[in-house]
Symmetry: C2
Subunit: 407 residues, 2 copies
């Protein structure tokens, strides 16, 4: 497996474009489109929130009922959530607009929206955006990057990752983009993530690979504990790498899963590190847990703790809050047995053992906690399972961004 | 039932005192003591966190194993949590110091601590504090109030409530005090709450009444989602009202439960409204839910949502976040059927119906949301159950307080 630059246009046969449609933002691109040259088998995972945005309902039906998809249209600014029958109608009209300008059947057009809940989309602007993007579709890195920029809301950085790997002598590419950065506590998947690959693989295995992968990648991210109404990850595989179609869980399937894990982990970490108002990526690694599920629960409990997140912002080695968050996670363990460490590129320091603080240097701890990527390592001493979770610090800017998001 | 002023010294035969022991704060009182003239039957509820502070372990054993208690010693500044065997030893030494100066058996002395996790208590200062408080014990309102002030950490206001009611011609008094205001997401009970009554009641019924009551009072409060290692509510009943002892769930027991609900609800709301950095008490009332448990879960999910809390701070009627929080609570419902309202002393306004926003006045909504006590009313249209939960807004000051709490 080789890491390469690029995103949704990295794989063969995928084009992208972006447009400034003026949906809510007036000074930037706010629409993106991804198109596969040929029909692609498609997998999707969606929010578990009872309240589901219209595009989530639209995509769920298409991913389940249609054998292939060819295009994805995304807008930022308005989420098209809690918009009733009118909101569903806009999904249909968006797909029809793509059919009209590109000749792709509306039943092969997926849609996604992110932004304010409860407002209706300005349909004419969407249609104009699609008309503007159609002639601009390109398979260049630049067009993929523009798409990644256009889907941002409060994100400060575009998020892209890609890898290549070999399947039966053919080079296969997998690339993707995603966006955060508030209302991020994915349960099934992230806010919005789009992955493209030229791998030939059956629809069933594509869906299974994605479903399994997100449990350890997107679902281990939390910015603020709020599971969105719009969470969507779509994965399109168009087979243009020319490999023999993967139809069983063989060695090639495992290679693909490894690639998927790499790209999704990279995107998940970018999303966490660019959480609203964040100054640091805050990772928790749990090792030697008794079960995988317990490892995940413990890791996620720590990165979700508001008090711990605020302490990370203050570069304060307040390990008591970490122990507290492990304690209320719902997992049973012996607090006297576990060990805690802080680590970053500046070093690693043990802080807790045998039920009390180790006599560590506060100065060294503060130095480690001042790095832009900070890890808490929790050794449960109970078994062989491990998990990582990614969040960010809690800052003044998180409050600022969210106290007045709509205006 | 009559609401009266006062706190832990309101009931007959209870005295209190406070002292400046210099445990962590150097410029204020940081220790309190409550003493009952005669042995009192005692009930307690404690944190469900796997990591439990030494005083929690000490009190749990005493409440379970001893028939009566006579004193409670509380300190603020250091939590005596994650302090190993040494921490347990300090609980014993504290109780023995009370035995030494007041002649109360150490097995009848409860202890409670709040503050930084992981630091050891300065035992000589605690002992000096107890020696200083002993001659100052008084049954006056003022001494109760000083105790309520002394147990505060980041609280900005002392929290006291009291009521009287009649049992078989005798006037019974119930009073209490509690403290917040961070790491507040009680599961079994609040951070620290102390209740005293002169009612004569069996230990079994006292415990049952407290246990049932906290499910709808303290356990419906959240400031930041962090369930503390130290959560403790203690309830002492010394029987000095002279009523015939309550030994069954008769009318008198119900009167007591009503009084308990009033005092604990009042204290719970004070705690929520004085959450770290809060500018507003944020209440969510869920009505017409299908089950009581669902009503509680839905109400608590809304007051715990960081995004909703930030919007309340911004006086922003961002109802989509409320709907989102209901949706990820784990309770299944039809988003098209429910209705949402904002209300405060400035009025009441409907904002959501039939799956979309009602055409409400943003100006009026902002006016309602600018009050210091704001309520979201959620009508589930599913049944007859209801619940309320209390939180606060998320502000810059919450971050400020918690980014640098230890220094």
């Amino acid at each position: 497996m080789e890491m390469i630059t690029g995103g949704v246009t990295a794989a063969k046969g995928f084009q992208a474009a972006a447009a400034a449609a003026g949906i809510k933002y007036q000074d930037r691109m706010d629409m993106a489109m991804i198109v596969s040259q040929v029909p692609a088998v498609t997998a999707g995972t969606f929010t578990t929130n009872v309240v589901q945005a219209a595009p989530v309902k639209w995509d769920k039906r298409l991913v389940m009922e249609e054998s292939h998809a060819r295009a994805v249209v995304v807008n930022a600014g308005i989420a098209n959530a809690c918009t009733g029958a009118e909101g569903m109608e806009y999904c249909k009209k968006t797909a029809e607009a793509v059919e009209h300008v590109l000749g792709i059947s509306a039943s092969q057009v997926l849609v996604a929206s992110t932004g304010v809940i409860g407002m209706q989309l300005p349909m004419e602007k969407l249609t104009s955006g699609i008309e503007a993007m159609a002639p601009e579709l390109k398979d260049t890195k630049e067009s993929g990057h523009q798409a990644a920029c256009a889907i941002m809301t409060t994100d400060t950085k575009a998020k892209e990752a890609a890898v290549t790997f070999e399947v039966e002598g053919r080079t296969v590419t997998l690339g993707g983009m995603c966006k955060g950065s508030g209302m991020i506590h994915p349960n099934m998947c992230t806010m919005l993530g789009f992955l493209t690959t030229d791998l030939a693989i059956s629809k069933e295995l594509l869906q299974e690979a994605l479903r399994e992968d997100i449990a350890d990648t997107y679902n281990m991210v939390s910015v603020d504990g709020d599971t969105s109404t719009n969470d969507t990850v779509l994965l399109l595989a168009n087979g243009m790498a020319g490999n023999p179609e993967i139809i069983q869980k063989d060695e090639n399937y495992q290679k693909f899963k490894e690639a998927l894990k790499y790209v999704n982990t990279a995107l998940a970490k970018m999303m966490a590190g660019d959480g609203e108002g964040a100054t640091a990526l805050f990772e928790t690694q749990v090792i030697h847990a008794d079960t995988k599920e317990h490892a995940r629960t413990l890791a996620k409990s720590v990165i979700c703790s508001s008090l711990t997140k605020a302490a990370i912002y203050g570069h304060d080695a307040n390990w008591g809050r970490i122990l507290c968050a492990l304690g209320y996670s719902g997992v049973t363990f012996d607090p006297e047995a576990i060990e805690l460490f802080f680590q970053s590129k500046s070093g690693r320091i043990q802080i807790y053992q045998n039920g009390t603080a180790v006599n560590y240097s506060e100065e060294e701890a503060t130095k480690i906690l001042s790095d832009p990527e900070v890890t808490v390592l929790v050794d449960m001493k109970m078994g062989e399972e491990e998990a990582a979770a990614w969040g960010c610090d809690l800052t003044y800017d998180y409050v600022k961004i969210n106290a007045d998001y709509r205006s």
